[in-house]
Each structure stands twice: as structure tokens, then as C-alpha cells.
């Protein structure tokens, strides 16, 4: 029987999905959105709606954990329909590679197994933490290095995951609970305080973040010269533009177009990755612990993660760093991390970010594609038959994390 391989990178913001044969994954918003008039849209459908403003999103993930299947099931159906172009899915001959957040609550992972086998009825299945796929994403599978440190900066959180011989080294996994969602929240707060109230426009805030924000190479210097770092974002008027755009010299702008002049917001918000105090000092609170607490930056956590790995592997990890995830697409993200890591790590260690030419947000999917098209995947997968024989408890033993 000819099995097809389907790869599903089930991110908490976007689902990246597609068959191995596809050039590009299909990106679907992992959300059900509700317009002002009460109409519900699944996945990307909201983009075709006329009332783009005031959309509210309901996401099946909560803190990265896949909680709400009543919400996820329609989105998966929608995604499969998009991939198959309205054809029926013959799940019986399809192998599924699915990602989840590292350290997902075992009960929820078991729910996933149940849905995959009993509801969709896939032929066989491999479930893994999403960053662990990234090292595979090289065009030539023999080039995959035995050591890799993946920095997966997603919507919910930023994960640092050392991979030794393609296996997750669980003791070294670190989490920074700051990702795209928190940055969105922070930007929303700043814009709402300084300019217009945008608290009801989550998609607009995300757009502004994606189009204007960057990670400064030298934060204090950038802050001094914030005038030169300013830009003007033209807010959507729903006639000429639905999402808004950044004003450049060449773009003709209506004289009555509303715009948003952004200065330090552009780099102060992403700076939260390196200075978490920004998040906690931005609200009025009089509690002593939070005012005196010291926070680790993303760099500190990477160093910590490397240092908790076996000693011989440490320089190898620092020389094979991979960035992935949507938040890593912030301009300057890799450069900043690289320069800070070079300062923090011993001087004779090479700090190298590997690039595989894929879009960072999709790089986990490309990794999954490379893995699924090789024979290795068959050795780690679980077939439907095995599932029905051993149950989901057993599946969790195969795929789940080990307690620290």
C-alpha cells in the first residue's frame, strides 16, 4: 500500500500543514473568529469577510497546551479540506506527523492520540515537540548534524531545546514564557496608552507588530536615536486597505488617512525578550518582590541550557544553533542573539546560527517534511493497529516527555 505522509505543525497561532510532496505548507490561522455581526469564521475564512475590524479570536490552545478539541476539530477539517482541495481524505492510507508543545500535559496528549486514531483514523502517527523537527530541515538529510540547539520562538512562548543525536535532551529544555502573544499584548498596551485604543483589534495589533517591530542591536543607543527609528503606520480605512501598511516615501497616501507614528514602541516591545522587566514595570503595582526580582534574558536561558548539557557537547551545540518560529522572524532577532551569545560563552567556542533557507515560521514544518520523507520516521511511528492494541497510555510513553 502506498502511504502518503502528512505533516501538521500545529502551532498555537498558525497551523502549518501539507503533504510531503508539497513545495510549501498551507498556513491556516489556528483560530475560530467571530465578527461583530456574530458570524463565525474558521481558520483563514475571516480574511474574506467584509467586517475585518472588531474580530475576536478563539484559539484551541491555552498556554501552549492543546486544550479545546471542540474548537480544534473544525479547524483541522478546514485545513484538510484546504490541502486536499475539496477532495475526501482517505485517512487509512495517510501517515501523520504532528507537533505539540514540549511538556504538554499528558492527559491532553492522550486526547490528541485518541482523536487522531479514533476520530480521523490515520494509518500511522508520529507525535513530537515542534522544535525537535527543526534540525531535519536541510535539503540533504545526510547533512543533518548530530547536535543542534533549537530556539523556537513561537506565539505562546520561546523554547530552547538541545537536540543530541536527534533526540531531545530533556534536562536542557528551557522555556521563556514570552512569545508573540505577550508582545502583542504589550504593544496593545503601549498604543492604547499613547495613541488610540486598539484593545478590541487583536489582528490589527499583530499586523503592526509584524510590519514595524524589530529587535534593536543596541537598545540604549536606539532609544537615544529614536527619532531616526520612527515610522508611520497607515491605519486601515477599509476602502483602500483592510490591514494597514507602513508609509514609505513612494507610497501615495490619502490626505485624510489616519496614521500612527511609532518611535520607541518598535523596539521597546520586542526588547521584552531580553529584558523581561519591561513587561512587569509597565503597570502600576506596589509589590516589592516584582520590583526587586531579577529576570533572565533569552540569552541567559540559552547559556543555561547549553551548560546543562553534557560537557563535550556544549561547544558543538553553540556552533549549531537553529532559530525557528514566527517571533524569530523579527528583524534583528538572530543578529542580536548571536552577538550576545558570543559575549556570554567562552571565547574559543564558535557561535553559529545555521540557516537552511526556509522561512523561519515554517522551518519546523520543513524539518517534519524531510523527516517524514525519509525511512527513519517508520521506526518511531505508531500504527493504528498498535494503538488499538496498547491504548493511549502506551502512546504517551512512546512520545511523551520524561519527568525531570
Amino acid at each position: 500500500m502506498n502511504t502518503q505522509h502528512l505533516v501538521f505543525d500545529n502551532g498555537s497561532y498558525n497551523i502549518k500543514a501539507g503533504f510531503v510532496e508539497q513545495e510549501q505548507p498551507i498556513k491556516v490561522q489556528n483560530a475560530i473568529s467571530k465578527a461583530r455581526d456574530g458570524h463565525l469564521y474558521i481558520g483563514n475564512d475571516f480574511q474574506s469577510s467584509s467586517s475585518y475590524s472588531g474580530l475576536v479570536f478563539k484559539r484551541p490552545h491555552d498556554q501552549g497546551h492543546l486544550v479545546s478539541w471542540e474548537c480544534e476539530k473544525p479547524i483541522w477539517d478546514y485545513t484538510l479540506n484546504e490541502i486536499l482541495d475539496n477532495k475526501e481524505l482517505d485517512a487509512n492510507s495517510v501517515h501523520l506527523t504532528l507537533t505539540e508543545t514540549p511538556f504538554q500535559l499528558p492527559q491532553l496528549s492522550m486526547n490528541t492520540d485518541q482523536i487522531v486514531f479514533e476520530e480521523f483514523g490515520f494509518h500511522s502517527f508520529y507525535r513530537c515537540p515542534s522544535p525537535s523537527l527543526s534540525p531535519w530541515g536541510f535539503s540533504d538529510i545526510s547533512k543533518v548534524s548530530d547536535f543542534a540547539l533549537v530556539i523556537d520562538s513561537g506565539y505562546n512562548a520561546t523554547w530552547i531545546m538541545p537536540m543530541i543525536y536527534q533526540k531531545v535532551y530533556w534536562q536542557g529544555v528551557k522555556k521563556l514564557p514570552i512569545g508573540g502573544a505577550v508582545l502583542d499584548g504589550l504593544l496593545k498596551e503601549m498604543i492604547s496608552f499613547r495613541h488610540y485604543d486598539v484593545s478590541d483589534e487583536p489582528s490589527l495589533v499583530t499586523t503592526i507588530k509584524e510590519k514595524t517591530c524589530f529587535l534593536a542591536q543596541n537598545f540604549k543607543e536606539s532609544l537615544k536615536s529614536r527619532k531616526s527609528n520612527s515610522c508611520e503606520f497607515i491605519l486601515p480605512d477599509f476602502k483602500t486597505t483592510k490591514v494597514g501598511y507602513v508609509k514609505t516615501k513612494n507610497t501615495p497616501v490619502d490626505t485624510d488617512a489616519q496614521s500612527l507614528k511609532l518611535f520607541d514602541e518598535r523596539f521597546s516591545v520586542p526588547e521584552a525578550l531580553c529584558h523581561a522587566d519591561i513587561i512587569f514595570d509597565n503597570i502600576a503595582s506596589n509589590s516589592a518582590p516584582i520590583q526587586t526580582a531579577s529576570f533572565k534574558s533569552l540569552t541567559d536561558l540559552v547559556v543555561q541550557s547549553i551548560m546543562s548539557c553534557p560537557e563535550v557537547s556544549r561547544p558543538l551545540l553553540s556552533a549549531n544553533i537553529l532559530a525557528s518560529g514566527g517571533t524569530a522572524k523579527l528583524p534583528g532577532f538572530i543578529e542580536r542573539l548571536k552577538s550576545e551569545l558570543t559575549k556570554e560563552l567562552p571565547s574559543d567556542w564558535l557561535v553559529r546560527f545555521k540557516e537552511n533557507g526556509n522561512d523561519l515560521e515554517e522551518s519546523n514544518w520543513f524539518g517534519g517534511r524531510a523527516l517524514a520523507s525519509s525511512d527513519i520516521v517508520n521506526t518511531v511511528s505508531i500504527s493504528k493497529k498498535e494503538y488499538f492494541e496498547h491504548g493511549s497510555n502506551w502512546c504517551q510513553k512512546q512520545f511523551g516527555f520524561k519527568n525531570l
Binding site: I32, L40, V56, F57, V67, S68, W69, E70, C71, K73, P74, D77, Y78, N86, K87, E88, F103, L105, P106, Q107, M110, N111, Q114, E118, E119, K174, K175, L176, P177, I178, V182, D184, G185, L186, E189, M190, D200, P202, L223, D264, S268, E271, A276, I278, D281, N282, I283, S285, N286, S287, P289, I290, Q291, A293, S294, F295, D300, L301, Q304, N403
Partner: protein, 238 residues
């Protein structure tokens, strides 16, 4: 030890697996039958027997997860002693969780409920016939209609170890405040090593530039100039 798995029929989805010793079982079950013969069982026993033999069968139940937890705690003294958290640390973690959740949460109106049996309907007719059916098996039907929150799942999880390792990940980026009396010098030296002093980034709450002043006494926010301070007293300082 020979064990036999007894599916608990009343709650097929339960994670708890019940085992009963098969040696014990065979001994008791003959016992049961013989008792049946000479005693003449009462109604409920008869009913149970008709429904499901295993239910009425006397058995020793072990909750495997509970046993495992008890074992890990008994064996590993480090776990039971654990990294003790000071009251301050717990307070700090609570503030952090609250703040991060507030940022992630969108406006209160964003919490809408999906209508019952909400599902995706594609163009082709084939999937329409499936539409009315929510869940193929009892297990998946339960999952698809549960509408539970993450917290309820956490409460249900009985393996303390995995909860600990999941939750502690969220605070890896905060330096531990340890007021708890440390035993031994080893811990102390480690503490010094780990805590690298980092100046706090002081940003004006009004204009976002670097502030050189200390926090506002009233609300703890930074300001950079008299102008900003006045503005802040009017707007953000409560």
C-alpha cells in the same frame, strides 16, 4: 506478580487503570460461586452478575498512578523535600502569571462560546452526512464535547511530578528568591554563582525613554522628567 487488567465499565475514559491480582481473583471467584450456591445471593448480586461479571467479582484495586507517585516520593527524598519555595517566591510567581495572562487575554468580549455541534462543512456532500455526528467513539465524543479548561485538566492530573515539571518551566526566567534557610555551603556558593547582577532597565512610563529617577512612591512606575511625572500623576498614578 500476575495481574489482569479490569476495564472499569462505568467510566471507560478514565485514565486510571485498575489492576487486580489474578491469583487473588481466581481464588475469590470460586469462592463467590460456591457462596452463590449455598447462600442464595441477594438481588443486587444477581443483577450485577447479569450486567457484568467483572463488576460483581471481588477484586483488589490498585490505582497505578497513585502507587507510582507514592513510590517516587518515598524513594526520592530530594523530591519530597523539593526545592522549597519561600512565600515571597510564591507571591512573585503569582504576580507573573497574572500579568502574563492579562497580556495574552484580549478584551473581555473575546470570550465567546461556540454553538453546540459546531463543525466545518465543506463543499462536497460526502462530509455532510458526517456532520451531524460528533465523535465516532464514546471516547472522542467526550473529548469533542468536553469544553473543559486547562485548569480543570491540571486539577485532574494525579502525577505530581509531571505537573511540577510543566509548571516550573514557566518561572525558569526568574531568579529564585530563596529566603529558606539553606543547608550547607554548597547551596550558598551556587547561589552566588547563578545570580549575576543585572541593572534593571528603567523606562519612563509616559514617553518610553530611559529614566534616571527612582520609582514613583505611589505606584512604582518610572518617569524621566518633571513633565512626564506630572502627566503620569494625572493619568496612570492611582
Amino acid at each position: 506478580m500476575l495481574v489482569e487488567e479490569v476495564p472499569k465499565s462505568s467510566n471507560p475514559n478514565s485514565r486510571t487503570v485498575y489492576f487486580s491480582s489474578s491469583i487473588n481473583l481466581s481464588a475469590r471467584s470460586t469462592n463467590y460461586h460456591s457462596r452463590n450456591d449455598w447462600q442464595g445471593s441477594n438481588e443486587s448480586h444477581e443483577d450485577n452478575n447479569a450486567n457484568r461479571l467483572s463488576k460483581s467479582r471481588p477484586k483488589v484495586n490498585y490505582n497505578v498512578t497513585q502507587l507510582m507517585n507514592a513510590q517516587t516520593h518515598a524513594n526520592d527524598s530530594a523530591v519530597s523535600r523539593g526545592p522549597l519555595k519561600s512565600a515571597q517566591q510564591i507571591h512573585l510567581e503569582r504576580i507573573i502569571t497574572k500579568r502574563l495572562n492579562d497580556l495574552i487575554k484580549t478584551s473581555p468580549s473575546a470570550n465567546f462560546d461556540l454553538p453546540k455541534n459546531f463543525s466545518f462543512s465543506s463543499m462536497n456532500a460526502a462530509s455532510d452526512k458526517k456532520k451531524s455526528k460528533q465523535g465516532n467513539t464514546p471516547g472522542t465524543r467526550k473529548i469533542l464535547s468536553s469544553r473543559r479548561t486547562l485548569n480543570s485538566y491540571f486539577e485532574e492530573e494525579s502525577n505530581v511530578l509531571s505537573i511540577n515539571s510543566i509548571l516550573s518551566l514557566n518561572f525558569q526566567f526568574v531568579d529564585q528568591i530563596d529566603d529558606v534557610a539553606q543547608d550547607g555551603n554548597q547551596n550558598k556558593s551556587r547561589k552566588v554563582e547563578e545570580r549575576s547582577f543585572k541593572p534593571r532597565l528603567k523606562l519612563c512610563c509616559i514617553c518610553g525613554t530611559v529614566s534616571t529617577y527612582s520609582r514613583c512612591q505611589n505606584c512604582g512606575l518610572f518617569t524621566c522628567s518633571v513633565k512626564c511625572n506630572r502627566l503620569h500623576e494625572d493619568s496612570r498614578c492611582n
